[in-house]
Structures are given as structure tokens and as C-alpha cells.
């Protein structure tokens, strides 16, 4: 997409497909959160880092866990600290705002310059979690009951949300997002990605390793398909181990780096001839 020279164009160590770059730029232009889905290891989380880096903005990461509540992202009122301080007669106990701690979303709103906010693995949280953030992400503001203050975003942050599709996200939330599914990289893109990490990788080594890698992914009985990061680790191991390229297919050295499950190792050994 030629014109948008100012937008996101990938970065030195992150190779993005045209569509992915387009979706980032559309999300920025339309001021909507960008929802990213994809197989594990396709670089969903790294995307936010790359966007922040290439646009020269700082990155705020909000990691979601199964226990995370939407409220925590806005602010937390530390009542216990206030109680302690009250017992010891600390100064300023009557000033509630001292005990209001902004969460990651609040931090992004209060920032003096535009930031990139990554809400990582939103599907880990409760089913209701995304719904609880609808207003805040739409209007870019929230209200602190204890002090009666409204926190409004000084600069609308670029919001990137990742999901592993463990749970269905609510429709109301989805309607407000720009959606992009990261495909598993094809040969050409994968080669580019590997070269970003190891610019001097030997030609035949890379070729053979990738053939084996895609061969394993194509095996029908494989339980956990190896991902990009595993290929990169493997190529690193092959280089460090000084394995000659022509032995990769026959001996499958360090294959444990690529395949992690016992059953899968068995399957791979069994099918070694057809790789």
C-alpha cells in the first residue's frame, strides 16, 4: 500500500506482511483497537513492539491473566496502605488521590505523548472482561469514583490487542475492533524472517532446515506444530553445532528443539524418510 510513508512499515527485526502493515495503518487512521489473532509463535506480541519502535512511540504492555479484572487496568484504590498510614499517623491520609494507583490503561491515557498500548492475550481473562472495557476503549476516558475525577486520554493511544482464541470474544467488543489474522508465514516470508535474525546463514543449511520444518508441520499426526520461534532456535543450534547442511535431512540433529512432545518425536522419526 504505497502512499502511507508515514505509517507502520515493519521494522529492522520484524518482518510484517503487506496486509498486516495495512491493518495497523487502518486501525490508526480509524482510531479503533486492532485485534490480532494467529497461531502461537507467529509474532503477535512482537508486533506491538515493532509498531512502537517504528513509529518512535513508547510501549505500555498490559499482560492479561486468568484473574485479571478490567478495573485493574484503570486504577486501583489501595485501601490497605491507607489504613496502615492512618494507624501510624502519616501525613496526607485524608488525600484519597494519593492512594489511587493508575493501571496500564490509565497510564496510557495520562501519558503526555501518544503511546502504543498492548493488551496481551485478552482471551485469558473472564468472558466478561472485554465488555467491561467497551466504554473506556470507545470514549477513551474513565471515572474514578473515590475522587470524582474523570481521566481522559490526552492523546488517543494506539491499542493493539492479541488473542489466542481460547475463548470467544463478545460480539459487542468485536464490532469495535479492526481484525487481523496472522497467517503462518509461507516459505518466502519465513526465509526473510530467518535472515533478519541470522543474516549470514548458509544457503543450503537454511533450505534443508526449512524443508524439514515444513515437512514436520505437514505431518498429519503431529500434536503440536512447531512455530517460527522454534525454527529460528533450531537454525541457531545447527549453526552453533557446525552441522553440515547435507546431514540435516538424514540425521535430524537437535530435532528436540523443534519438536517438544515425546509422541511427536516418535512420529517424526517414523516419517523421517518422507521429510
Amino acid at each position: 500500500m504505497g502512499e502511507e510513508k508515514t505509517g507502520f512499515r515493519g521494522s529492522g527485526d520484524y518482518v510484517a506482511s503487506e496486509e498486516l502493515m495495512a491493518s495497523v495503518n487502518v486501525a490508526i487512521a480509524l482510531k479503533k483497537p486492532l485485534l490480532i489473532k494467529g497461531e502461537p509463535g507467529t509474532g503477535k506480541t512482537m508486533l506491538a513492539e515493532a509498531v512502537a519502535k517504528s513509529l518512535g512511540k513508547s510501549l505500555i504492555i498490559w499482560n492479561i491473566k486468568s484473574t485479571t479484572k478490567a478495573q485493574e487496568g484503570l486504577y486501583v484504590y489501595d485501601t490497605i496502605q491507607r489504613l496502615y498510614d492512618g494507624q501510624f499517623g502519616e501525613e496526607g491520609v485524608d488525600d484519597i488521590s494519593r492512594y489511587i494507583k493508575l493501571g496500564k490503561l490509565g497510564e496510557a491515557f495520562e501519558s503526555d505523548e501518544q503511546v502504543v498500548l498492548l493488551i496481551d492475550e485478552i482471551d485469558k481473562a473472564d468472558l466478561e472482561f472485554p465488555n467491561d472495557l467497551l466504554w473506556e476503549l470507545d470514549k477513551m476516558e474513565f471515572y474514578i469514583h473515590e475522587t470524582g475525577r474523570t481521566v481522559t486520554a490526552k492523546h488517543r493511544p494506539i491499542v493493539i490487542i492479541t488473542s489466542n482464541a481460547e475463548k470467544e470474544l463478545p460480539d459487542a467488543f468485536l464490532r469495535r475492533c479492526i481484525f487481523h489474522y496472522i497467517d503462518f508465514p509461507d516459505d518466502a516470508l519465513m526465509e526473510e524472517i530467518v535472515r533478519v535474525h541470522y543474516p549470514h546463514v548458509e544457503e543450503t543449511l537454511l533450505k534443508n532446515a526449512m524443508e524439514v520444518f515444513y515437512g514436520i508441520r505437514a505431518l498429519r499426526d503431529i500434536r503440536k506444530k512447531p512455530s517460527t520461534s522454534e525454527l529460528i532456535d533450531w537454525i541457531n543450534a545447527l549453526q552453533l553445532g557446525g552441522i553440515p547442511a547435507d546431514q540435516i535431512k538424514s540425521a535430524l540433529p537437535f530435532i528436540g528443539v523443534v519438536v517438544k512432545k515425546d509422541e511427536d518425536l516418535e512420529t517424526v522419526r517414523h516419517n523421517a524418510n518422507s521429510l
Binding site: 500500500m1 504505497g2 502512499e3 496486509e19 495495512a22 491493518s23 495503518n25 487502518v26 487512521a29 480509524l30 479503533k32 485485534l35 489473532k37 481460547e166 475463548k167 470474544l169 460480539d171 468485536l174 464490532r175 475492533c177 479492526i178 481484525f179 487481523h180 489474522y181 497467517d183 498429519r220 499426526d221 500434536r223
Partner: protein
């Protein structure tokens, strides 16, 4: 603009809302598509579609609406608007057809490259909307370019056509695998099984959970002195009975069944899970292991007596019995029939258990009278294909009261 596209998407089962469609208009307004068909494809997809399982439906709708705009040419959104004459389609069709015969001889011989070349030239020169003419790009015209036109050998710009030509990105239909009606893997199995939940606190288990509301109430009533109240934890009350077809025609699906089995046992939130195996059809014995060896079994009658009617039953099998296996009381060639035909045993299961579903890894789509046994069993139990979609439907069926 593109209201037909909107309707076509909804027809394909995508729940596109007006809000999202307006967002797309906003994107067009802001020129985010940069007048390229491919960019328009990606931008509209990222705004209108919110799950990779729907990409395929989107592709089909897109192809239907923008069928032959397959080549990468700069078409301004202005021009697409001129061509968006879906209301006039019917009218144009009739007219076009009558002109078709006269023009066919004249223009169909132009070869494709020549037309494309001319199209690009004319695209450069054109500065206004043209309909019905014979030179400029427009709708209902006689030139080789434009929509709703009558030239058979020409190029279409947007709009709809009956002639075949593939749109490169869509032609591959590369997202077909993501459709949620594909055959599924373990993780998705587990997620589907999570639907089988019925929380209950009326179980025979010790009171091990702190009842916060109760504690606050008691403590307040007690004048502020702490008084703790405990309660029974809420547990899933669902009991599951899994009956799996093993061996023979099911061998190609063994990896899939293994996954299903794993998923059920990883979903440790059930009150009880029982699994038995059968070969082709259920008779008087149920096997304890998938090998279905004689002797290593329980009586089906024993199961009826010991596993109450509140068990939810999932039968997995291809329902591809030969007629005598299903209807003859000597049809079981591997073990005892127990005096009843397989069909009668299945009827007993239906009578005894309130909730039974049948999952079939190779169910024929729609009505398939040539699969005799499958059709008969479909009449007895609700049958679903063993896919994400089918499993979800089956789980919903098990949880709802008809």
C-alpha cells in the same frame, strides 16, 4: 455505496452490522483503500470480519460481488461509485442480452491483453460518469469495459457478472480450513466440552468454601465479633457417558477419536465420566478397551442399571452398519447379540437416557438416503458431524431442554 455487498455478506451468514459497514465507508472516505481492489479487499475484510473462521464466507461474498475485477489496476473509488448500479442490474441484463448477439461478432475477437491495455488508457482519460455509451467506461454500455455491460469479451470493473473468471486472492480460498465446520483438534474439543456445565451446590460434599456474604451478615449480627460461615463449593453436576465405535471403518479416524478421548478426560470438571467401546453397533456387551476383546466387557444391561438416566450420552461412530448388523438379531459377527437386534439396543438406550447425541466423523451432508443405517439412526438420535461446529451444536443439545 456497495449495499449489495453488505446484503451479500449477510446472506452468506456473516453478521455484519450497520456500524461496521459505516466504518468501512469512513475508511473509503479517508482513502485508506488507495483506489486498489486488493487494498479494498483487505480493508473491508479487516473491518467487517472478526474471526478467521469467517474469512471463507467473506471471500465467497466478495467474489460474488466483485467477481472479475481480478487484475491490479488503479480504479478510483469515484469510478467504482459510478459503476455501482446494482438496482439497475435486472434492466441492464435484458438490454444487454439483446445487444449481445449483434456485438458478439464485432468485438469478441479482441484479445485480452489488447483490451486490458485499452482499458488502462481509457481509465487515464476518463473524467466523468458514463452509462449506456459505447466508448467510455460505464455501466450498461457496449464497450469492452465497465459493469452490467453487453460485451462478452470485455473486462468488468466491479459489479456482477455471470461469466467465470477468478479473483487471484480469493480464487485460492486459502481460509477454507479455518471455517468452523472443519474437523477439529484437541484444544477445540476441550473448549467445546466446557459448554457442558451445570453448576450445583446441592451435592454431597463438605462445606469447604468461605461464604463471604454469610460471614459479613453473621458478624454484623454478632456485634462485630468475627463469625465465619462456610458453604459447599459449586461443582459441575454433569455426568458423561461416552460410547465409542472402535476398529473397522473407524480406523481412519483413530487420531481424531484419540483427541476426543483426551479432551474429555482433560476436562476434569465433570462429576463423572464413563467410557465404553463398541464395534460397529451396540449389542448386549460393551467393551472396556478400544481393542474390543472378547471377555473384557460389561453387560449393556448392567450399564442401564448402574448408570442412571441423568448421564448425558455421547455416541461416536460412523453409523455405517450393514443392514443385517442393524436389524438382524444375529447380526453381531463379533460377539453375542443378546437376543435383540442392534436397532433394538439403540432404542433401549434412547428410552433409558434423556440426553443422547451421536457424533459422526464422516456424516453425509444433508439428506443421504443411500446411507441406510445413517439415515435410520439420524431418526433415532440427533446426529452431528464431528467438527467444531457439530460438537458445539451437540453440546448445546445436551444442555438444553429440547
Amino acid at each position: 455505496m456497495f449495499t449489495k455487498f453488505f446484503h451479500s455478506l449477510r446472506e452468506k451468514g456473516l453478521h455484519v452490522t450497520l456500524g461496521e459497514f459505516l466504518t468501512l465507508q469512513e475508511a473509503l472516505e479517508k482513502n485508506l483503500c488507495e483506489s486498489s481492489m486488493t487494498a479494498f479487499y483487505y480493508v473491508s475484510r479487516m473491518i467487517l470480519v472478526k474471526s478467521e473462521t469467517d474469512y471463507d464466507k467473506f471471500d465467497m461474498a466478495f467474489e460474488e460481488c466483485f467477481h472479475s475485477a481480478k487484475f491490479e489496476t488503479e480504479i478510483t473509488s469515484q469510478m467504482l461509485r459510478w459503476l455501482d448500479k446494482s438496482d439497475l442490474q435486472q434492466l441492464a441484463d435484458d438490454e444487454a442480452r439483446s445487444q449481445l448477439n449483434e456485438l458478439e461478432d464485432l468485438q469478441v475477437h479482441m484479445d485480452k491483453e489488447e483490451i486490458e491495455q485499452k482499458f488502462k488508457e481509457r481509465l487515464r482519460d476518463q473524467d466523468s460518469e458514463h452509462n449506456g455509451g459505447s466508448f467510455w467506461i460505464g455501466s450498461m454500455g457496449k464497450t469492452s469495459f465497465g459493469s452490467s455491460g453487453g460485451n462478452v469479451g470485455g473486462l468488468r470493473v466491479g459489479g456482477k457478472t455471470g461469466h467465470q473468471s477468478a479473483f487471484a486472492v480469493i480464487g485460492e480460498r486459502k481460509y477454507r480450513d479455518f471455517r468452523d465446520d472443519r474437523v477439529l483438534d484437541n484444544r477445540q474439543f476441550q473448549l467445546a466440552f466446557r459448554k457442558l456445565r451445570q453448576f450445583s451446590a446441592r451435592l454431597d460434599i463438605p462445606e469447604t468454601e468461605l461464604d463471604i456474604d454469610g460471614t459479613v451478615n453473621k458478624t454484623c449480627n454478632n456485634g462485630g465479633c468475627l463469625q465465619i460461615v462456610m458453604q459447599k463449593p459449586r461443582r459441575n453436576a454433569v455426568k458423561l457417558l461416552l460410547l465409542m465405535d472402535s476398529g473397522g471403518t473407524m480406523i481412519p479416524f483413530s487420531a481424531l477419536l484419540n483427541d476426543l478421548f483426551q479432551a474429555v478426560h482433560k476436562s476434569n470438571h465433570y462429576k463423572d465420566v464413563k467410557t465404553y467401546y463398541f464395534h460397529n453397533c451396540i449389542y448386549s456387551k460393551l467393551y472396556k478397551t478400544p481393542e474390543c476383546e472378547n471377555g473384557d466387557w460389561v453387560d449393556t444391561d448392567w450399564m442401564f442399571k448402574n448408570l442412571g438416566s441423568d448421564y448425558k450420552v455421547i455416541i461416536v461412530g460412523d453409523a455405517a452398519m450393514a443392514p443385517e448388523e442393524l436389524y438382524s438379531d444375529t447380526g453381531n459377527y463379533r460377539g453375542p447379540n443378546g437376543g435383540l437386534a442392534g436397532w433394538d439396543w439403540l432404542q433401549l438406550i434412547k428410552k433409558h437416557y434423556k440426553k443422547v447425541v451421536w457424533l459422526n466423523p464422516k456424516m453425509a451432508p444433508g439428506h443421504a438416503p443411500w446411507r441406510e443405517a445413517e439415515t435410520a439412526i439420524k431418526g433415532l438420535f440427533p446426529m452431528y458431524k464431528l467438527t467444531v461446529d457439530g460438537l458445539n451444536q451437540a453440546m448445546t443439545k445436551l444442555m438444553t431442554n429440547k
